[in-house]
């Protein structure tokens, strides 16, 4: 048996009873006008591969889980998700009546899967992140599953490559001793997005990982922890799983809270969270600067990235990123680090440096009665 074949066999053995959960939500406001509330970021091909971020997430998880993938999305996006993922069984598509933040979304999947298999381990992976090196990712998830079977909430921490201020961090503690999971470590705490100096300190210290929001945990462990910290929310989710017809009635009353605040942070304070380091490239594609950094240079002008039809871009003395998206020609002359995003009803012109502030434009649209564009 070759090593690769051995790796695959080991992964297959460990992954028995492991379910991937894909919460497919979030508006991607800082990617306006590409991302809209009616057509959010995860439904778009933002890397020029021909796959949407959701499809790429599916393709990354399918080798690990087969058809044990559950997608939780808003009712508004149900049809598009179904169309983009023909392999998704209708029984594994959960449509939220309204957004209720990540704890309710992932918790409902956990409650549904706990009933199908009391020993189920779930891993939640956002539908709108970009991940490289799928083999490295797979091995990392395998280790996380091994650790999760021992009762930990396991997060996958990304080894930082720069002092990023746009991500939360995980403060890593002592090594765990778990067979088959040599890289597992205790989590000391979760840390909010730091300022630049703090981020530099984290990078130098070497004990901090980026929090990519990936959690691997036994479904029952997650719900039992939730029952400790937010008993009504846990009860509501288990109620819905027992009687799915009550979804519309119970869902609107559930607490809106993230899984980080609801479970991960308080559980970490009790020493019940572990981390497996992810040595793959990862990005949350949070804004156009981040998106630009993921694109390769295949543009008419060196230094200018293009997402979409290169033939529609006309450029001279320009660097940055151009996204033609309405069939119209986009001409850029004499601008550095520019961002131009063309869509059928709106065009955005900004800079990579101001990419984070695109959210303010969307707020401005809402405040001035043009929410139809958001």
């Amino acid at each position: 048996m070759t090593q690769a074949a051995g790796d695959r066999r080991r992964i297959a053995d460990d992954m028995h009873g492991f379910w991937a959960v894909i919460p497919a939500g979030g508006a991607g406001t800082r990617l306006w006008p590409l991302s809209r509330s009616s057509s959010p970021k995860f439904l778009h091909d933002l890397t020029g591969t021909g796959c949407s971020l959701l499809q790429a997430t599916w393709n990354r998880l399918e080798p690990l889980c087969g058809d044990r993938i559950m997608v939780v999305t808003g009712v508004l996006h149900e049809a598009t998700v179904r169309a983009q993922l023909p392999g998704l069984s209708p029984a594994n598509l959960v449509a939220e009546p309204q957004p209720r933040d990540s704890m309710a979304a992932i918790g409902l999947a956990a409650a549904l899967l706990e009933r199908r298999d009391p020993d189920a381990v779930i891993g939640s992976f956002a539908a709108d992140h970009v991940i490289g090196e799928p083999e490295v990712f797979a091995e990392c998830v395998r280790e996380a599953v091994v650790v999760a079977r021992t009762g930990y909430v396991v997060t996958i921490g990304i080894e930082p490559t720069r002092p990023a201020t746009g991500f939360g961090y995980i403060h890593v503690g002592d090594a765990l001793v778990i067979a088959g999971a040599p890289n597992g470590r205790q989590v000391r705490s979760f840390v909010e997005k730091p300022d630049a100096m703090t981020a530099r300190g984290f990078l130098d210290a070497g004990e901090y990982h980026w929090n990519a929001g990936m959690f691997v945990v036994k479904a029952s462990v997650l719900l039992d922890l939730l029952a400790e910290f937010h008993p009504e929310l846990a009860a509501g989710l288990r109620d819905i799983a027992a009687q799915p017809a009550r979804l519309a009635e119970v869902w609107p009353g559930l607490t809106k809270i993230s899984i980080d605040h609801a479970v991960a942070e308080p559980a970490a304070a009790q020493g019940r969270v572990a981390v497996v380091p992810g040595r793959f490239t990862w990005d949350d594609v949070g804004d156009f600067a981040s998106l630009a950094s993921l694109l390769s240079d295949a543009a008419p002008v060196p230094g200018l990235k293009v997402l979409g039809e290169v033939d529609l871009v006309l450029a001279k003395d320009a660097t940055g990123v151009v996204i033609p998206g309405s069939g119209r020609t986009v001409a850029v002359l004499g601008l550095d680090d520019i961002v131009v995003v063309d869509t059928p009803d709106a065009v955005l012109v900004t800079t990579r440096a101001r990419a984070q502030d695109v959210k303010a434009l969307v707020d401005l649209l809402k405040a001035t009665g043009r929410a139809d564009l958001t």
Copy 2:
């Protein structure tokens, strides 16, 4: 009689037999993608007044000439010109089979008018310039006509307000002594567009005016001078005027030359050109920087000019000019002196500083097989 009524009466008396000629040509390449070969600059409202530049030119001249206005344009634009100028008599619309530069265009009008009235004085005024203070302009043209009746080629020189490098200059000589034209002066020479230092010197010297390409001259004087300097061209134009049916046959063989090179410069060398100073504001709207300077600040953000529907512009921390032209929203964030021009099939993003180089983009389009967009 009030002074204004007296002014109007004197203007009316002096203007007897005076014809305005409007050469309506030129692609306005540096105003791409607004200006196209199929829909050039003069057909557009570039000042937000509701009139195209051509209509504004007509409106400025009509009080001086009544219906004695002749328009020379390309066959391609004949129908649009007719539609924009309902007051233009069909007999006064001349359609060039192909562009043959300004001497042929203005010379043909002169030859046609010379046959109608041997004493006719013509004044040529480009269809795509912007002029302020119409009363000042009218008085200036009146003086130019008075000087032209004495046999001079008269140009109207714009008093410079800055050391512009984008215009040619007129070097002014001694005062003329002509009754009714106290401001008339000899022209020493025409000077090509200067560099910045030379332009600064011109401004300081006070003896240089901008050459706005406005010529006032007896039709017969213009053609007789042309017959001296370019006899075949003069003969060709007079042939066509005598036998209009020969237009299609004779026109393609005519020399392509500007009126400046063909007549004004050699005539100036012989002391046969005069100038009347124009103390009105004038701009050739050569590029988007020039266009921006003509627009008033009525934008959602201070420092940002908008030509078109202000409601379509969304801006934050932005200065420059935005021209929404396709009904789509244009959002600009964090950019200074930006130029964004939106049209149904192309969008341009550049800066005021690079506005002159838009021509290079148009050349690039032609070179890459996308001439349909130019």
